[in-house]
């Protein structure tokens, strides 16, 4: 059975369609690549479309590393570009999706994922991805390790972007951000909508066609 992180990544990867170019954040999002069909290409924002398998042994080189410094083997059909071009693509709306981690997501889809009130590591490429990707998918555990709420009415942490999140995938549920509010679309076997509601701050709308998450 998959652990929570892989379970989340596998579900998030189902949003990708053949022909899509997708950017994956560090952490859980990066695991999506393991659950993706052929015909989808991954971008690394330091400047390449077509990130392939992790490089080992003789294939390890400084010339093919992702934004997390992990060496990889480019897949057939890869393309290389500089960082300015990379973010031109990202902002252009040509990137089908980005999967990102989150510290907080608000009721209207605001995302906070780069700083707490006490710590600021930097936003890297996240703000541009939220601005430009056609779909912003948050892949995270539903609450903090000690049960604190991450889906909140208003983000208290510095924002990455306003009203940018489309889907939230967690180990317990899938929530869509809509004009009407947060809609509970899928739920883990053994959980009830009330269980989920107890762990998030905003009032959830339960979808008419609420589905069970695939185990």
């Amino acid at each position: 059975m998959l652990d929570n992180r892989h379970f989340i990544a596998r579900r998030a990867a189902q949003y990708f369609k053949v022909g899509d170019v997708v950017n994956l954040g560090i952490g859980i999002p990066n695991l999506c690549a393991e659950y993706t069909e052929k015909g989808i290409m991954f971008e690394t924002e330091n400047g390449l479309i077509g990130v392939g398998d992790a490089a080992t042994d003789i294939m390890v080189t400084d010339r093919f590393c992702d934004a997390g410094s992990n060496p990889f083997v480019p897949m057939p059909g890869s393309s290389v570009f500089d960082t300015a071009y990379s973010f031109a693509i990202i902002r252009s709306g040509r990137m089908a999706a980005t999967v990102l981690g989150a510290l907080q997501v608000s009721a209207r889809g605001d995302l906070a994922n780069w700083a707490t009130p006490n710590r600021r590591f930097g936003m890297g490429g996240a703000m541009d991805l939220c601005n430009g990707a056609r779909q912003v998918i948050v892949a995270m555990e539903l609450t903090t390790k000690d049960g604190g709420k991450k889906i909140v009415n208003e983000c208290s942490f510095p924002l990455t972007a306003e009203r940018c999140v489309d889907h939230i995938v967690t180990e317990q549920c899938v929530i869509d951000v809509t004009g009407e509010g947060l809609v509970l679309k899928e739920i883990r076997q053994g959980k009830t909508p009330e269980d989920i509601q107890a762990q998030v701050e905003p009032r959830l709308i339960v979808a008419d066609d609420l589905k069970a998450m695939e185990e």
């Binding site: 330091n46 400047g47 080189t61 400084d62 500089d82 973010f87 703000m127 510095p158």
Partner: protein
């Protein structure tokens, strides 16, 4: 006779060619300069040029760089030695010493979204004053920036960044400074290399003129002043 011809050719190579000794390059760094450093994710950085900068003793530096390398490595060496007064960067996740110095006030840090940061540097190398982007609207990035409306849409004005010296790395460079790259070793190098009064490059292979095909060149020699020998 043949000897004379070869010598004449060598003299011409010196006149036009851009290869310079380590000593000459070290002498180009001074206190208070703004230095643009190419590379990302701590891979394929201009390690040898960063060492030149270390050896120059220059301090009170401002560094433009996508990231801050690891503690005590690359830019991390300069940060640990207290030589950096100010950084414009996009994240410090790999270098807790940079965060500490920011919090203690020893180093001023401007955090910028990666796409806006590199676009600002591109402006600096392209004779542009700035660009309009939606990235950062509604966030702390907006603070202190002009908001400009175009066709009813709001944008942040991100102003050009230009350095005194750029230190970057290429896979190949020819004698007149045409540069070619490989893979994600490209990263911010070609952009940083354009945006400084003095653009210095190190390369893995120094090429004869015309060894790099015209269509392979990513940065033409017109932007490059010196190549580390």
């Amino acid at each position: 006779m043949a000897e004379k011809i070869v010598k004449e050719h060598k003299d011409r190579r010196l006149d036009w060619g851009k290869v310079r000794s380590r000593e000459e390059i070290i002498s180009c760094f001074h206190d208070g300069q703004i230095i643009a450093v190419g590379g990302q994710a701590g891979c394929n950085a201009p390690w040898r040029l960063i060492d030149c900068l270390m050896d120059s003793g220059a301090k009170h530096l401002t560094i433009y760089s996508i990231d801050c390398h690891d503690p005590g490595i690359g830019i991390g060496k300069l940060i640990r030695a207290g030589r950096v007064d100010r950084m414009v960067t996009t994240h410090m996740g790999t270098n807790p010493e940079a965060s500490q110095r920011m919090l203690s006030g020893e180093m001023q840090v401007e955090l910028a979204p990666m796409g806006s940061f590199i676009e600002r540097v591109r402006c600096g190398g392209a004779g542009l004053g700035g660009v309009l982007t939606k990235t950062g609207l509604g966030t702390v990035v907006e603070e202190g920036k002009q908001v400009i409306t175009v066709k009813g849409e709001r944008y942040l004005l991100e102003e050009a960044l230009h350095a005194d010296v750029a230190i970057t790395r290429a896979r190949r460079a020819d004698l007149i400074g045409n540069l070619a790259y490989r893979g994600t070793g490209t990263a911010s190098h070609p952009i940083m290399a354009t945006a400084a009064d003095l653009s210095i490059v190190e390369c893995d292979l120094l090429c004869d003129v015309a060894e790099i095909a015209p269509d392979e060149v990513r940065v033409p020699g017109v932007y490059i002043d010196m190549i580390l020998a």
